[in-house]
Symmetry: C2
DNA sequence: CGAGAATACGAGCAATCGCTCGCGTTTACT
DNA sequence: AGTAAACGCGAGCGATTGCTCGTATTCTCG
């Protein structure tokens, strides 16, 4: 038993040099671009490697397979989105705002994030993923669902959990459905698309918001 | 010039026997099943042939390629949908109905059609298609868009064409987005999903409908 | 410096998929 | 009966794709 004083302990994160960390970031940047252009399924790992300026073999030194790339990219997106909008969401006095203001404050930043990161919706709004939602899309989905549910709870504290979660699912689904139209719209027509998105959300939320 | 008294005239539809027509229908049935289970991209032509009980070679005696199968299936869906619901749509006195009744009359048959034909949404609500919407999904999309636009025009004849078409696109998109949740829901929970779908549609339509 | 790990390469393997091709069988028509 | 076209088969081709492997280079640290 004296063979190893430090047990092999599952190879969670292998030793990595600074250059390697940079490479991983480059690969994720490249993957975001390629996913944005082609979607998850049609994006090839060789294309991602080429976009990152490395060989396929090098790519697989950092990620065990294609899904892991999407996973890591999704995790990074979740982190960035959280970091960017935490302040915008947290100290909002929901009761004091009317519905239109609330929608502006919540929708606009998310739209801006998606316009700035076109690869996001490739992982979030596409049904390409392997094994349904299990995989890369799930953490993103869960993150948004949680935030929307929290807003709903603030809007109407009386709302039963079941109804609140169902409404959150519906709202996220609407968002998913309308996002491509907003993001892919040419600059001049984007505000109109955003306006329609807010109309849909407002129409669904209005009966919930006025808890009379 | 006496070579052929009957010019070859482009081989539009090749001579086909009754057995062949039946085979084509069988193939489309099989394709609907496979598309429903796997989506367009992941469905293999060999799997469709196997599901139809024929060999890959025989399949390609009737359809030149995979997309043509989807195209033909989409055309058949459009025809069936039109035949089923024409009466339901045509002689509706929109002005006399309130919004909830109108939604019931329009949404319920379409939902029923989709529950009965689970392959439909694989062609209608999936972004798998080759070359964007060009291809099989387009005729379905156009058919629905036209009907929705007609209803909107009846609801508010003053509505400018541009606004009406945009609203129609939004409504169809919402339908697309919510349909999978409705169709894939287990029997007992389906009515609840349908109710949410109608809530969303009603919320968006209400400001358009009351043309005060 | 020297050893071992991390990084890097890119040809190419194994599996998949849309589709073809050669050939045999059945049907329609004269 | 005889002919041509329609129907049918299934092995497998050509292209693609996720990923591997042998090998070479660079970095870290004692």
């Amino acid at each position: 038993m004296t063979e190893e004083h430090r047990v092999t302990e599952e190879p969670r994160t292998r030793r990595r040099q600074a250059r390697g960390e940079r490479r991983m970031a480059d690969i994720l940047d490249a993957a975001a671009k390629v996913f944005a252009q082609l979607g998850y399924e049609k994006a090839t790992t060789n294309a991602i490697a080429a976009a990152a300026g490395i060989s396929p073999g090098s790519l697989y030194q950092f990620f065990p397979n294609k899904e892991a790339i999407a996973q890591a990219l999704a995790d990074r997106f979740v982190a960035e989105m959280g970091g960017t909008h935490r302040t915008a969401f947290e100290n909002l006095d929901f009761a004091a705002l009317d519905l239109d203001e609330l929608l502006d404050r919540v929708v606009d930043p998310i739209v801006a994030f998606n316009v700035a990161n076109p690869g996001f919706k490739a992982l979030f709004a596409r049904p390409d993923m392997p094994a349904g939602l299990t995989g890369a899309a799930q953490p993103i989905q869960s993150a948004l669902l949680g935030r929307v549910a929290a807003i709903l709870a603030a809007l109407d504290p009386e709302l039963p959990d079941e109804d609140r979660d169902r409404a959150a699912r519906v709202l996220v689904r609407i968002f998913q459905a309308m996002l491509p139209a907003v993001v892919d719209a040419p600059e001049p027509e984007r505000p109109a698309e955003v306006r329609e998105l807010k109309k849909v959300l407002r129409g669904y939320l209005a009966p919930i918001a006025r808890e009379d």
